[in-house]
């Protein structure tokens, strides 16, 4: 498992986020995990305390999907859904995403590609937000106070942004 599971998140341009990650399985299986409700329910939940209660998928171009997460502590829910724009099983999936109570304005367009090499699948998720503001999701986690000038974190960021000529 050493090199499996390193998630890379990059900001691209001013409206996009690109996530890349490798999984230890063939693309058929990974594609299923992204598209079959009984499988989606078993991983697309969280953070802690949230379960994916409702998961409906109509996997065809123009078909819709709907997810509703539930917070177990107080029963509150969060719903999201969208429409499939392109389906090339098991290589590519394009769908829109919109939250019932938007935590970002407008819609996002997600392009997910599955590339298999020697039994492992490299997944790239490109999230294109409708607006610049859309990408600036408000994260409600408490910020660490008193963050001083930490060059370690700068380095992390610069690495994240695939900087060449890093010292």
């Amino acid at each position: 498992m050493s090199f499996i599971g390193t998630l890379k998140v990059e900001a691209k341009g001013d409206r996009e986020i690109v996530m890349t990650r490798e999984f230890d399985a063939g693309k058929d299986l990974v594609f299923d995990c992204f598209t079959k409700p009984e499988l989606i329910k078993r991983w697309l939940y969280g953070p802690d305390g949230w379960s994916l209660d409702i998961c409906e998928v109509d996997l065809k171009v123009g078909g819709k999907y709907r997810y509703v997460w539930k917070y177990l502590k107080d029963g509150s829910t969060m719903g999201a859904g969208g429409t499939y724009k392109e389906i090339s099983e098991p290589d590519k999936l394009i769908h829109t995403e919109r939250f019932d109570e938007p935590w970002y304005p407008g819609e996002a367009l997600l392009t997910t590609t599955f590339v298999e090499t020697s039994g492992r699948t490299f997944v790239t998720i490109n999230v294109l937000y409708e607006t610049k503001e859309g990408r600036d999701i408000v994260i409600k986690s408490p910020m660490e106070g008193g963050a001083a000038q930490s060059y370690n974190r700068l380095e992390t960021l610069l690495n994240t942004l695939t900087l060449e000529g890093k010292k």
Binding site: A25, P47, R153
Partner: protein, 127 residues
């Protein structure tokens, strides 16, 4: 003025400033300490005005600032906006990392169940 911008605007300015490889290289250079505009321009096959233009973008985003110095026009790195951008990306990353780790476990489980029932063909259709 960058500190008059909202959090969202600041992030936009930061990411836009970082979207250019020359500007990222300039920041990496400044991560090691203050550098004069002259020295900053040296590694690049670019005119001074072209470099100055990049420096202006970085300054507007609040990523660098000038230091008063009689002789040299020094520039230094401002870490705060980068920290905000880093925090933002890290939060996003944490959120998804958890989910993807769950997916790893699921994949392991599915692979095991396939091995124990070799007769079952891959079901490729969605009912």
């Amino acid at each position: 003025m960058s500190h008059a911008l909202s959090y969202s605007d600041r992030l936009d300015a930061t990411f836009a400033a970082l979207s250019d490889p020359t500007r990222r290289a300039i920041l990496a250079r400044l991560a090691n300490g203050e550098v004069s505009v002259m020295d900053l321009a040296k590694p690049f096959s670019m005119s001074q005005p072209a470099i100055s233009k990049h420096l202006k973008v970085l300054e507007r985003a609040g990523l660098i600032s000038g230091i008063k110095d009689a002789q040299k026009r020094l520039r230094k790195l401002e870490a705060r906006p980068l920290e905000e951008a880093t925090e933002w990306l890290e939060n996003y990353k944490k959120f998804w990392e958890g989910r993807f780790n769950q997916l790893d476990s699921l994949i392991e489980e599915l692979k095991l169940s396939k091995q124990t029932s070799p007769k079952r063909k891959n079901k490729r259709r969605i009912e």
